[in-house]
Amino acid sequence: MLRVESVSKDWKEFKLREITFDVEAGEYFIILGPSGAGKTVLLEIIAGIITPDSGGVLLEGRDVTRLPPEKRGLAYIPQNYALFPHMSVYDNIAFGLKLRKLPKQEIERKIRDISEVLGITHLLRRRPKTLSGGESQRVAIARALAVEPRLLLLDEPFANLDVRTRGRLIVEMKRWRRELGFTALHVTHSFEEAVSLGDRVGVMLDGRLVQVGSVGEVFSRPASEEVARFLGFENIIEGTAEGRLLRANGIEIELPVEASGRVRVGLRPEDVILSLEPVRTSARNELRATVESVEELGPLVRVHLKVGGIHLRAFVTRSSMLELGIEEGKELYAGFKASALHVF
């Protein structure tokens, strides 16, 4: 349905590099990446707002790379919803329909229908400024879907909403898709949205699309070290493997599988358990560590450790930090199961 082919673009501080992917008709495709990856630039290239430096965009087989936005037949919802503040909700939704010169009754009928599905019938007379975040998002989606676009482009649609509204809208989004059957390309930094909504996920890092696949695939088998890092494997240890033993910078680690030669393993900081005394069991790697620094992340604390010649990061809760008396220079034990290691 949509094909993006080797698209590159330098735009402000963003650099897109050779982005290629397909979205099938009826699919919900998620592009997952940290902020600054260039996700919005990519959406704006597909929408026709920015022209790529090289590469092309195909819609249903037709090259639309040079077509202005109004001739592409897709709908774009930017992160801030971009409701027209000087028009009522009704006129916002009617905007695209009026441009298509539909008869007045037809417009009214279409707005009534879409408003019912999205649960915004009671808001039609209101001004956008008087709406809550969740209401604004519903109106933006209604305005986009009213013109029956071939493809819906969503830029971080739930990022500015509170937890509850977000949860509710994600569930409803699934229903709207069933009822209205649209194709969507949704960019986000939220793992939750990717897991809940995505048929397929593309991971975008630093202007490149580094892995595309089903949600399960991407999360369980990251294609590279940097995808692994983005998916939370903050510790990457490089060393020489011999059977199930890895030697790295003076420490020895037990591996979950046999390997040999130079290998790298990934370890999530939440899988590292800190303790004051060693609690050696068969299934567990346990290493003497020194605290280098401590970083508070709300209720969680990221502890930077030095273990022999390598650095490790571990998450502990704030209460554990207090109980263990963790501060710079503290010596303790860092343990993790062999099964928590991901060998690349």
Binding site: A47, P68, L99, V147
Partner: protein, 236 residues
């Protein structure tokens, strides 16, 4: 706090220097309301006022027609020499008014000598920058993404401009146009050179003062202050 008190006193001199003449002329005229009534029946005054209002309005309209598109281009596009264009728009502010008149006469000679076109030419030169700058700032304050969304919904660039950017920037553009109007009607120096005739009210103030003295020119001054201040209050 002695420092702030001292600063406030210093500052008050300036505030009084602006406020006192405003109050003084109204008080003096109130004591001489017969003269004010007489002025209101003076055909010359009425015609001059009409000329001033007409030419200032024409100037504001021309500034809108040319300045709003320019403001939009300055707000949305990047091009070589943009900063030069920006600077050029502000140049008229610093040129002595009589010199503006000479410059315009040198350039357009008889075409603008002593006619309405000349008055408008002088006014436009000194006042257009207000509309351009206000339009540019107004468009800058409109989120460009609103226009992008309008276009993905099927609007052409012109349509997106007319239905999104223009209505949203309208308050800023309107206040720019009012400033242009006020600056236009306040101009004297350039008009004296380019078009002494047809007579405008601001020139007539000067002529009455030269020919008949202060008392004769005061009522018309009061009328012009009322017009200017009304506009100013509307603007705020």
């Amino acid at each position: 706090d002695y420092t702030v008190a001292f600063f406030a006193i210093m500052g008050s001199f300036l505030i009084l220097y602006i406020a006192v003449p405003l109050v003084a002329i109204f008080l003096k005229q109130a004591a001489d309301w017969r003269m004010l009534l007489k002025t209101l029946h003076d055909g010359l005054v009425i015609r001059a006022l009409r000329n001033s209002l007409l030419t200032a309005t024409a100037t504001a309209v021309i500034a809108l027609l040319l300045g709003v598109p320019l403001g939009y281009v300055l707000a949305r596009e990047n091009f070589r020499g943009k900063s030069l264009v920006q600077a050029l728009i502000d140049v008229p502010i610093v040129i002595p008014h009589s010199v503006v008149g000479i410059m315009l006469l040198v350039t357009f000679s008889k075409a603008i000598l002593d006619n309405y076109a000349g008055i408008i030419a002088a006014m436009l030169f000194v006042s257009a920058s207000f509309t351009v700058n206000a339009a540019r700032d107004g468009f800058l304050a409109v989120d460009e993404r609103l226009e992008h969304v309008a276009r993905t919904l099927g609007a052409s660039r012109l349509r997106a401009f007319l239905s999104i950017a223009l209505p949203m920037a309208l308050p800023s553009i309107a206040s720019g146009a009012i400033m242009t109007w006020a600056r236009a009607i306040s101009e004297v120096g350039a008009i004296l050179i380019v078009a002494y005739y047809p007579k405008t009210a601001q020139i007539l103030v000067l002529e009455y003062f030269n020919n008949y003295g202060l008392r004769a020119s005061r009522p018309l001054s009061v009328l012009l202050i009322v017009v200017s201040l009304t506009l100013f209050v509307v603007l705020r």
